[in-house]
């Protein structure tokens, strides 16, 4: 019997059989908890907004830190626009417009982390609208383009192909 128990335990381990720790996740709670948006649009909720609408939301909730036109304020409140063509120069300017590879990341970040003092207080429509505004001041989309869960993933960001995998160790040191 004892030997049988040992074999049984070994089989359990080998099969990665769960030990019963933890409880099943509630599907409804999971939907509320899961805020991750992927580049292909997975995770985006239904909603819509244009830069025209976004300008009003931005003025009320974002401009105090990022400036009236997304120009930023001091080093800590980074500019949201500009810097195109600067990445290979001595003074690169990394902004949403010049640096970020995916528009979905803009939506995800505004939704999860902004406004800084009250994150996740914007409605989905407001997030689409502010995202459209930020992309528009960078000249990436026209003012009237409606962003929604289908059009946002199709927006092509200027630095889309600017990222390469980790190439390290890339330094050959000499003694």
């Amino acid at each position: 019997m004892f030997r049988f128990a040992i074999i049984f335990a070994a089989v359990l381990c080998a099969q990665d059989k769960p030990s019963g720790i933890g409880k099943p996740a509630n599907a409804e709670k999971l939907r509320a908890l899961d805020i991750t948006v992927f580049p292909d649009g997975k995770g985006l909720p239904a909603g819509r907004g244009t830069a025209v609408a976004g300008k009003l939301v931005y003025k009320e909730k974002c401009a105090v830190c990022h400036g009236d036109h997304g120009e930023g304020r001091e080093k800590q409140y980074g500019a949201l626009k500009g810097g195109m063509g600067s990445l290979a120069t001595a003074k690169p300017m990394k902004t949403v417009g010049s640096y970020w590879p995916y528009a979905t990341t803009v939506w995800d970040y505004i939704h999860r982390a902004m406004p800084y003092e009250h994150p996740r207080s914007l409605s989905s429509d407001e997030v689409y609208a502010v995202t459209a505004f930020v992309l528009n001041i960078n000249g990436i989309i026209p003012e009237t383009l409606e962003l929604n869960e289908r059009t946002l993933p199709k927006v092509e960001m200027p630095n889309r192909n600017g990222f390469v995998p980790d190439a390290r160790p890339d330094i050959r040191s000499k003694r």
């Binding site: 769960p18 720790i21 980790d166 330094i171």
Partner: protein, 411 residues
């Protein structure tokens, strides 16, 4: 004497709640003895009282340097005073911090970690549930990817705290992440794990599944007690040897996915911009690095020419430190430093080197090799390969200048 003892015992018995009738009896007895007792003439030579939670000696003043990054409190960094620490372990109260949206006040009795996405069984773990898994304790350094960005750009900090202080080393206790993931059952398509914190900004990073199944921990213990709030209480992800930012604090969700999320903190920041305008992404390991902690910037070699011990720290995110060399002549000659045992993988290693200082100006520096054979580069070699704007993962040799009067400055 008997009288004093009686009195103090009485005080203690009250504190510890001796039952009422017995306490009364002792009080009467003490009172009787006390009546025939004189107070001692000299003050007591016994020491101070005990403390329920210890504190350092009042004269010890070393602190972190705190820098708020925004007008709202809680977003910024604080740096460890490495130049004033002994050995290899950082006290929890001096561990460096980097927060992107303040330190949340989380309740460990209600906090949960949810594992979902490409798993057979989406599961929720309370802290009590996480502590049911087999636990391990391991000593690992944590270093912010941006530790030393100013050095790269030619703006060296005047002292070690400001040049290298986004580095600490702690004994972490927790459950191997692979056990938790096995409980949920990974689907074969699960190649990435997106870890998210419960801080206001829900800071999130994408982690390759191989690391999650290797030496990753869900850590709830730090130097023998619960994590400090600023280190992720009640539970954080710990990815030994990897840049600080991926060690997500206040961990509340692990999403298994086929692709990375390309989150803001893995694209807009924590990517290494090269001179050609391309950026390296998903650069996780912290490369081999060493620095002299004594004598270092702002310190003084007060005793004039003679014997000194040069001491410092070496570490690598790729494993153990193999060797450290010290130069006291500006890099012309190098001598092997003594490594303090045990040399642990992905941990701080203390090195020492006996130096006979001749009392003249000297440039001192250290360089290390890790167990993969990687040699810590010079700044020129690093800048040659990556340019001046990669910002993150700077790890070049650091030199200090000792002046003839014994003062030490940055170079």
């Amino acid at each position: 004497m008997k009288c004093l003892r009686g009195t103090s015992w009485l005080k203690q018995s009250r504190i510890y709640g001796v039952n009422q009738s017995r306490r009364s009896l002792i009080a009467i007895g003490a009172g009787l003895l006390g009546a025939s007792c004189e107070k001692p003439k000299a003050p007591s030579e016994t020491g101070g009282t005990m403390r329920a939670y210890g504190e350092r000696a009042p004269a010890e003043k070393i602190v972190r340097t705190v820098r708020e990054a925004t007008a709202s409190a809680g977003s910024g960094s604080s740096r460890t005073p490495l130049q004033d620490l002994y050995g290899t372990i950082t006290p929890s109260s001096l561990h460096f911090e980097r927060h992107h949206s303040g330190v949340p006040a989380l309740d460990s009795s209600t906090h949960e970690v949810t594992v979902h996405g490409l798993v057979e069984r989406p599961l929720v773990f309370s802290m009590e549930a996480l502590r049911r898994f087999p636990s391990v304790s391991r000593t690992h350094f944590l270093e912010c990817a941006g530790n030393g960005a100013g050095e790269q750009q030619g703006n060296p900090a005047p002292d070690l705290q400001r040049s290298h202080g986004l580095l600490s080393c702690t004994e972490w206790t927790g459950v191997p992440l692979k056990l938790v993931l096995a409980e949920a059952g990974l689907k074969p398509e699960a190649k990435w794990m997106i870890a998210e914190g419960a801080d206001a900004a829900r800071m999130a990073r994408s982690i390759p599944i191989a690391k999650a199944l290797d030496d990753a921990l869900l850590a709830y213990g730090q130097n023998g007690e619960a994590l400090r709030p600023e280190q992720g209480y009640p539970v954080r992800l710990l990815l030994p040897g990897w840049e600080g930012n991926v060690n997500v604090k206040w961990l509340h969700r692990l999403l298994l996915a086929a692709e990375p999320a390309w989150s803001a903190k893995e694209t807009g920041s924590y990517t290494d911009l090269m001179a050609d305008g391309k950026s390296q992404i998903f650069t996780f390991e912290m490369e081999a690095r060493s620095v002299i902690t004594f004598p270092s910037g702002g310190q003084k070699m007060g005793g004039g020419a003679g014997a000194y011990e040069v001491s410092g720290l070496a570490w690598s995110g790729r494993g153990k430190i193999e060797s450290v060399e010290v130069s006291t002549d500006g890099g012309r000659t190098w001598a092997k430093a003594e490594l303090q045992a045990p040399v642990l993988s992905k941990s701080l290693t203390r090195f020492r080197h006996a130096w006979q200082w001749d009392g003249k100006e000297a440039w001192i520096q250290s360089r290390c090799v890790d167990e993969t054979g990687y040699l810590q580069p010079t700044r020129e070699e690093l800048v040659g390969a990556r340019g001046l704007n990669s910002v993150y993962h700077y790890h070049a040799i650091k030199a200090w200048r000792v002046a003839a009067d014994g003062s030490v400055n940055h170079v």
